[in-house]
């Protein structure tokens, strides 16, 4: 059993080939970073989160991924998107990023939503991997003497009488 089969419930959306296109695509959007020690969006845990979140957009995803795959096949002598060379995949991703259609906007949104709530990603940003509530955060009070120029200028509101 592969890692993916271990991770994915049987009722996840999309066919296996479509999932492979999706995995490749989101890995092109946010790849892993050695410099920042950050996983890519195609990390198994994040990918599963994306698949689950995308459930309510299954029709849109099926059509959008099929379009991208057909585009790759047309432009690269029958080679589908997931099988493109790294150079060709990067070039195609660059093109897609400049022509965001409704599917790609939704995909980017879901990818960002799932990626930036992953514990490991939050930690690379210096965040504690936790929800805001109940601990909350600390905000510095700030320097209220900054208001002195405003006080000196005096009344601003408009009189209505006379």
């Amino acid at each position: 059993m592969s890692n993916e089969e271990t991770l994915l419930a049987s009722d996840l959306p999309l066919s296996e080939p479509q999932r492979e296109i999706l995995r490749t695509l989101i890995g092109s959007i946010i790849p892993a970073s050695r410099d920042y020690g950050a996983p890519g969006a195609d990390d198994p845990l994040i990918f599963k989160d994306i698949l689950v979140t995308a459930r309510s957009y299954t029709d849109m995803f099926e059509a959008g991924l099929e379009d991208i795959d057909q585009q790759a096949i047309r432009d690269h002598d029958g080679v589908g998107f997931a099988a493109l060379s790294e150079t060709d995949r990067r070039a195609m991703a660059e093109h897609l990023s400049r022509t965001l259609n409704p599917f790609l906007r939704t995909l980017v949104s879901i990818t960002a939503q799932c990626y930036y709530r992953d514990d490991r990603v939050m930690q690379t940003l210096g965040m504690e991997p936790r929800p805001p509530f109940p601990k909350g955060f600390t905000i510095e009070e700030g320097d209220w003497t900054l208001l002195e120029p405003v006080r000196r200028r005096g009344k601003l509101y408009r009189d209505v009488d006379g």
Partner: protein, 533 residues
């Protein structure tokens, strides 16, 4: 649940319905509030989970069309550049509002006299002042006394912290020589009336799990219920009935199982916001009111006002508050009043939006082309993360009869009740005001040290404020309700929400909606023996 006749029937448990129920409770009349939504459980608010930002796109979206809860009704806003934002439940849209809580100004009630536009209100700031004060105590308002943009007003609690973002932008305003002040906020900065103080969750607009934000489910309603008011949830009103004397006799509503009920009432009060209220009136068709209840002059649903919003956000090369802290921070009313040297009348408020969360940062950057796909994503993202702050400009919208709420001929809610349709065109005055606000906002951000500025005007999803569709006035030919909220046509029918606004001012409306509701309630109490005369 009994449908025995009640004295006062309030439709809607949001900002205005809660305030009215509370103030009328002391009369010992039998008061029932019908609310189509549920009680919310703060423990289930998004900020209690790491997916809190994602839920802004699903069950806690500001758009009923995206949220699609069974308790929502759809809104056809395809014919409007600004889409409707609301929430349905006990607390209404205060569940999701930011808690920005300005008062109107004295001039806002006199725009015809002062600027020869729209109409004066049939009451003024001094009429509302004691009700503002009463409401401030009930909701719990944080702020700093002495704002030169307002007549003197007390602060119930200390202001929310300036933080890094407020300091940076305060310096920017100072560099321009322009007004700014800590925002009045319906957020507790200290423990208050059983509520805990703000914990800087950074998630005010998806419901406050801390209970620091003053949504009316945790402010007015507990007091009103203890005083004897009954709230019935999952009760969706279809229409108001009238008798042969043009008096409201009660309402027909559907319960959670879709069963139809009739609730008789001596007085019916609409508190459903500037879209929901005209929707019910227009759905209440009878032989005596063939064009909708209280609509003999045809004004129900007309003069819809939003506040067109501009967003001006700067990227700085220093850490700011980012995902932490309440969104509310400081405001500026430097450009609030009419200045004849400009090419528009009336004005706007800048409200500083402190920062944004990690997901919002990514989407802002990726959709604006500032964060690319691929390996550079990470470095460019970190140049924006916790380094964005800026403002929105909330522009006064003037009433125009062609901006309307009507009934969609096809769209219906889950109970089969016709849904509202919005027809709205941004006026030339609003367009010019937005452009001016963007230009001045860019100057402020650059003076504050922004290295890059992002703008959007109008904010397409920014229809938070719904006003004007059953306007108040003394003349029955030119208004739907009188100067104390009573329908000109139906003498036991009242409206207490933002529908009755004559003009919109350039500030968030909730504080004024609630003060007006208290004012109307107090007037009703004083006139109990002559209420229908």
């Amino acid at each position: 649940m009994s449908n025995d006749p009640v004295d006062i029937l309030i439709i809607g448990a949001g900002a205005s319905g809660a305030a009215l129920a509370w103030t009328l409770a002391e009369t010992r009349m039998r008061i029932v509030c019908l609310e189509q939504g549920d009680w919310l459980n703060p423990a289930e608010y998004p900020s209690a989970g790491k997916d809190w930002e994602s839920r802004q796109y699903s069950d806690f979206s500001i758009s009923p069309n995206q949220r699609k809860r069974i308790t929502d009704y759809p809104v056809n806003d395809q014919d409007s550049p600004i889409s409707v934002a609301n929430f349905n439940g006990v607390g209404g849209s205060t569940i999701l509002y930011a808690g920005h809580y300005p008062r109107f100004h004295p001039s806002d009630f006199r725009v015809k006299t002062l600027d020869n536009v729209a109409d004066d209100w049939p009451l003024d700031y001094t009429d509302l002042e004691p009700y503002y004060a009463e409401n401030d105590k009930m909701m719990g308002v944080s702020g700093l006394a002495g704002d030169p943009a307002y007549p003197p007003k007390p602060a119930v609690m200390p202001p929310l912290p300036l933080g890094k973002s407020g300091q940076v932008l305060g310096k920017g305003f100072n560099a321009m020589g322009w007004h700014w002040w800590p925002s009045d906020s319906a957020i507790a900065s200290t423990t208050y009336d059983g509520r805990d103080k703000c914990a800087n969750l950074g998630a005010c607009t998806v419901g406050c799990a801390q209970g620091a934000k003053a949504s009316s489910d945790i402010t007015y309603w507990p007091h009103a219920i203890r005083a004897g008011v009954e709230v019935r949830t999952r009760c969706r009103v279809r229409e108001i009935s009238v008798n042969e004397n043009d008096m409201a006799s009660g309402v027909t509503y559907y319960d959670v199982d879709g069963n139809e009920h009739f609730q008789a009432a001596e007085v019916v009060v609409l508190a459903c916001n500037g879209v929901g209220t005209p929707r019910i009136l227009l759905n209440s068709v009878s032989n005596r009111f063939p064009n909708g209840l209280a609509n003999r002059n045809g004004l129900v649903g007309k003069n819809l006002m939003f506040h067109p919003y501009a967003s001006i956000q700067g990227i700085f090369d220093q850490p700011l508050d980012g995902y932490m802290g309440p969104g509310n921070c400081i405001w500026s009313q430097q450009f609030y009043e009419t200045d004849r040297s400009r090419d528009f009348v009336r004005g706007f408020t800048y409200e500083i939006t402190r920062g944004r969360g990690p997901v919002a940062t990514a989407l802002t950057g990726m959709f604006s082309g500032r964060i690319p796909w691929g390996e550079e994503h990470h470095q460019r993202y970190r140049e924006l993360f916790n380094q964005i702050t800026g403002m929105v400009a909330i522009c006064e919208d003037l009433p125009e009869p062609h901006n309307t709420v009507s009934l969609d001929p096809e769209l219906k809610d889950s109970d089969g009740i016709p849904a509202p349709k919005i027809t709205y065109k941004l006026s030339d005055n609003s367009r010019r005001m937005l452009d001016y606000a963007v230009d001045r906002g860019v100057e402020i951000l650059e003076a504050a040290g922004a290295t890059d500025v992002m703008t959007e005007a109008p904010i397409a999803v920014g229809g938070w404020h719904l006003m004007g569709t059953t306007r108040m006035g003394v003349d029955p030919e030119h208004s739907v309700v009188n100067e104390w909220g009573r329908s000109h046509d139906v003498r036991n029918l009242f409206v207490v929400d933002g529908s009755i606004f004559v003009t919109s001012a350039g500030v968030n409306p909730t504080r004024t909606i609630q003060a007006l509701s208290l004012y109307i309630g107090d007037t009703m109490k004083k006139r109990l023996t002559t209420l229908f005369d």
